[in-house]
């Protein structure tokens, strides 16, 4: 008898290269992209005909007709059609949460294997009808007589027919994520130069990782794209400095806007997937475990009343996660802090360095302290790769798991890594991974 909870192991991953919205994947559905990412994973690990415990996936920008997006995608792959699926959603943390979900189930012995995945297409985001038109149409459909139907439809006005594009803002504040972050950026005094430097480093590190072949077994080309379309290996600080700020330009709280298209992630299309399994399941198939999912914490902040910045939730989730596992911030070997904006990463770090913030907001005895920046997003992150919302978590988990495994083999020491992802509506998720070697 196995004792539960047992280890949930990350065995590998696969994603398609991320594309800029309106780029090579324009016109491709979420289902097409997610199926492609899963097909590549099945091919890489020889999962044809396998009945897995579960496939957990999701999308943020999801069409109403994609009710069973993950199920429909999985049915399009050579996986056993009896593999159950679940659709989940938590904005930008979606596929980090699907990883948590699958690993929890494996740890509890409910399943032995699973895929965590996510997909998003900013090119094919839903466009809805106005609530008034929707009500009128429902009334007309429900009408029992032609007269009732005509009466219902007679309420139509030309303005009702205008489509409603996807909302680009927080429902409770009306501000876009970028506007929110621009305020946080200004509040924490994050400079334009620091943001551009982080963005440049992201591009350079991602390009170097591609050149070194790091992504050979993590990315499968799609539609002629072999690398992330947003990647600009030849970018320079000078070029980044020429870009005009796009967020915070009209905000009275932002004296000097600093956030540009260069230090913010672009709208993106893409899909990612992660294969997880128990030790026995991996061994039976000759698969090499890369890392285990140690623990996770979520947090949410009150951004609505201006008490905290919209994207600050991970700042709270991470210390809780560290405390629960008896670790300090400096005990980690690698940090993957999602680059929603360069300034998100920088405010997160600055908050942890702040004695005042850590005492007053986190209720701690003192600051969490600084981290070794050479261990932060070492293979580049979302600023370079792009950020298809629900696909980013899967990208981070597979990348970090491989990095931890490789480094553990090289150094002979167990490696610990942190993933922190901020999400819309003031939420955030943090996950702790630990290398596994034979």
């Amino acid at each position: 008898m196995t004792d539960f909870p047992r280890d949930a192991l990350i065995l590998g991953g696969n994603r398609i290269p991320f594309a800029r919205s309106g780029g090579p994947y324009a016109g491709i559905s979420n289902q097409d992209m997610l199926t492609a990412a899963l097909d590549g994973l099945v091919a890489r690990f020889g999962l044809q005909g396998e009945k897995l415990g579960e496939v957990a996936g999701g999308a943020v920008l999801k069409l109403a007709s994609d009710l069973n997006l993950t199920r429909e995608s999985a049915l399009g792959t050579p996986l056993d059609p009896r593999t159950p699926t679940i659709d989940m959603s938590k904005a930008c943390a979606t596929s980090l949460e699907t990883v948590v979900h699958v690993s929890n189930r494996i740890q509890l012995g409910q399943i032995d294997s699973g895929i965590a995945c996510g997909v998003d297409s900013a090119s094919d985001s839903p466009i809805e009808v106005t609530p008034r038109l929707r009500r009128i149409l429902h009334r007309a459909f429900a009408a029992k007589t032609p007269m009732q139907r005509i009466k219902a439809l007679s309420a139509l006005r030309p303005a009702d027919l205008a489509p409603v594009p996807p909302r680009n803002g927080e429902p409770r504040t009306g501000l876009s994520m970028g506007e929110h972050q621009a305020q946080t950026t200004a509040q924490w005094g994050i400079t334009r130069e620091a943001q551009d430097e982080l963005a440049l480093a992201s591009h350079q590190k991602l390009a170097a990782a591609y050149d070194a072949g790091f992504f050979d077994d993590l990315v499968t080309g799609y539609r002629g794209l072999a690398r992330d379309q947003n990647l600009r290996p030849d970018s320079t600080l000078e070029k980044l400095a020429t870009l005009k700020p796009v967020f915070g330009v009209k905000s009275p709280q932002v004296a000097e806007p600093t956030m540009t298209a260069g230090n913010s992630t672009p709208l993106s299309d893409g899909a990612s997937s992660v294969l997880l399994g128990s030790d026995e399941w991996a061994a039976e198939r000759g698969l090499t475990p890369l890392a285990r999912v140690v623990d996770t914490r979520s947090a949410a902040v009150d951004f609505v009343h201006g008490e905290e910045g919209l994207l600050m939730a991970p700042v709270y989730a991470v210390p809780e996660l560290l405390d629960a596992n008896g670790l300090t911030l400096q005990d980690l070997d690698f940090y993957e802090i999602h680059e929603a904006f360069a300034s998100t990463v920088l405010t997160t770090l600055k908050a942890w360095e702040s004695e005042e913030f850590c005492r007053e907001k986190l209720g701690r005895g003192g600051a969490l302290g600084t981290i070794d920046r050479d261990r932060l997003n070492v293979l580049g992150s979302s600023l370079a790769a792009g950020h298809p919302f629900a696909a980013t978590g899967g990208r981070l988990v597979a990348t970090l798991a491989k990095l931890l495994h490789q480094t553990a083999l090289e150094t002979g020491r167990v490696q610990r890594g942190l993933i922190s992802v901020c999400a819309a509506a003031g939420q955030g998720t943090a996950v702790l991974l630990e290398s596994v070697t034979d």
Binding site: A36, D39, A43, V219
Partner: protein, 452 residues
């Protein structure tokens, strides 16, 4: 896959019109799935040498309906002209003229195969006798002309057996089986030389590549995908390679064939080493390497630039050199009798306007396999090439319509070949039987009018 013109001339009014105007009326070629029988009977074996008797007996043992004379047969499926012992040009007549009387009885899709010796002897000694050389050389001219005269999707091909190699050598038997089968549907007017007795008979004719692991480069689509499917159908385990941009197509083919995919740009620095380390990680050894990756960047030389010349040479020939070097130097990633089959092209033989770059690369391939064969011989390995003519693929679908239509018709079979035709020829050259075939380039072109 049938083109619009062919569909038209196969209709009743279209056929009548084409006949009246003397336009090409291509026949439907039967492939393996259409005609699974290994031999189309009855088979008439002509020639009175001991070798002819031996081949007739062998075919009988295999269950074929074998005859030694064509007399009174109303339909003939296959004809073998065994000419291994002819000594002077005058010896050709009696055998050839027997076939003449039977030509009108050839069934649709019939097969004619000559078996003779190379004019030069095919071995190091060379033929000394002028009359002997003339007789043997004559067979080539005869066969190539006969192939032009074949109708109804019938083909004619020749096997040249080097002096000192018996007609029962695996290579001879294998080549004969290939030419008689539907696998050679788009091969006509061609000779293959069996230079040694190496190789072994196929133990399992329905799965000739079972237990073998084969690499196919450029496997994601077109001819490469057809090669993968054919080798898989022949029982091979596959490693499929293509550029990262085609990764998802490659993965899907790998899923279909339960193959191992590897995304790699074969022109990248260290591509050979990356392939070798990938094979080692996966604990794979290659018995067969099909070097199919290829591109075109057509331009007249007057308009040729480095960005069109360099990639074509890099992908089509230089990558073959680097990959085979890496595989050979690694020492532990090749099986016991490795087979290398490269993709050449009829453009590399006859040349083609607008393809100086492509033809240079493909002619390079033809010379390369000859040299590589010598390097592999001590290992019991072989290297050969296949030169496709006009094949119906995504690549040729991009040729302007009129040019494409001409290219498609200027061969004895009056139609384009299919990717599977190239694949079948590669599968044959990769088989155990083909061990005696070394450094050859076999054309799959329906006997294209250009080149030798």
């Amino acid at each position: 896959m049938t083109d619009a013109y062919t569909r038209f001339v196969r209709s009743a009014p279209g056929g009548l019109l084409a006949k009246q105007l003397g336009l090409p009326r291509p026949s439907r070629l039967l492939r393996r799935k259409d005609r699974p029988a290994p031999v189309l009977g009855p088979v008439v074996v002509l020639g009175d040498s001991a070798g002819a008797d031996a081949i007739a007996h062998r075919l009988l043992e295999d269950g074929a309906d074998v005859r030694r004379r064509p007399d009174e047969l109303r339909s003939i499926g296959s004809v073998l002209l065994v000419l291994d012992e002819i000594a002077t040009p005058a010896d050709l007549g009696p055998v050839v003229l027997t076939l003449a009387s039977a030509m009108r009885s050839l069934a649709p899709g019939a097969r004619v195969v000559t078996i003779s010796r190379p004019a030069g002897g095919g071995d190091a000694s060379g033929a000394k006798d002028a009359a002997l050389a003339a007789a043997r050389g004559g067979v080539e001219g005869f066969l190539r002309s006969l192939a032009h005269e074949m109708r109804g999707g019938a083909t004619a091909n020749g096997i040249l057996v080097a002096d000192g190699v018996g007609l029962d050598a695996p290579g001879v038997v294998g080549a004969l089986r290939f030419f008689l089968s539907a696998r050679s549907a788009f091969v006509s007017g061609q000779f293959v030389t069996v230079s040694t007795s190496a190789g072994s008979a196929t133990e399992n004719p329905s799965l000739p590549l079972v237990g073998r692991t084969a690499l196919v480069t450029g496997a994601a689509r077109g001819i490469g995908a057809a090669i993968a499917r054919t080798l898989a159908a022949d029982g091979a385990r596959l490693v499929l390679l293509d550029v990262p941009g085609a990764g998802t197509e490659l993965s899907r083919l790998a899923n279909e064939l339960r193959a191992v995919p590897i995304q790699l740009d074969v022109t990248a620095d260290g591509a050979g080493e990356r392939l070798v380390s990938f094979l080692r990680e996966r604990d794979l050894t290659l018995d067969v390497a099909v070097l199919n990756a290829g591109i075109t960047r057509d331009k007249l030389l007057a308009n040729m630039t480095a960005d069109r010349w360099d990639p074509v040479l890099a992908v089509n020939i230089t990558s073959q050199l680097t990959l085979t070097d890496a595989l050979l130097e690694a020492g532990d990633v090749l099986g016991e009798h490795p087979r290398v089959v490269s993709l050449a092209s009829t453009s590399g033989i006859a040349g083609n306007r607008g393809q100086t770059n492509y033809a240079a690369s493909k002619a390079g391939v033809i010379a390369f396999v000859d040299a590589l064969a010598a390097r592999l011989a001590p290992l019991g390995g072989t290297a050969n090439a296949v030169a496709p003519g006009f094949i119906e693929t995504e690549m040729t679908a991009k040729i302007p319509p009129l040019t494409r239509e001409i290219a498609r018709r200027v061969n004895s079979l009056q139609q384009g070949g299919l990717p599977v035709d190239v694949a079948e020829t590669i599968a044959f050259l990769a088989s155990d039987e083909a061990g005696g075939i070394q450094g050859e380039t076999l054309r799959v072109c329906g006997q294209n009018m250009v080149g030798k």
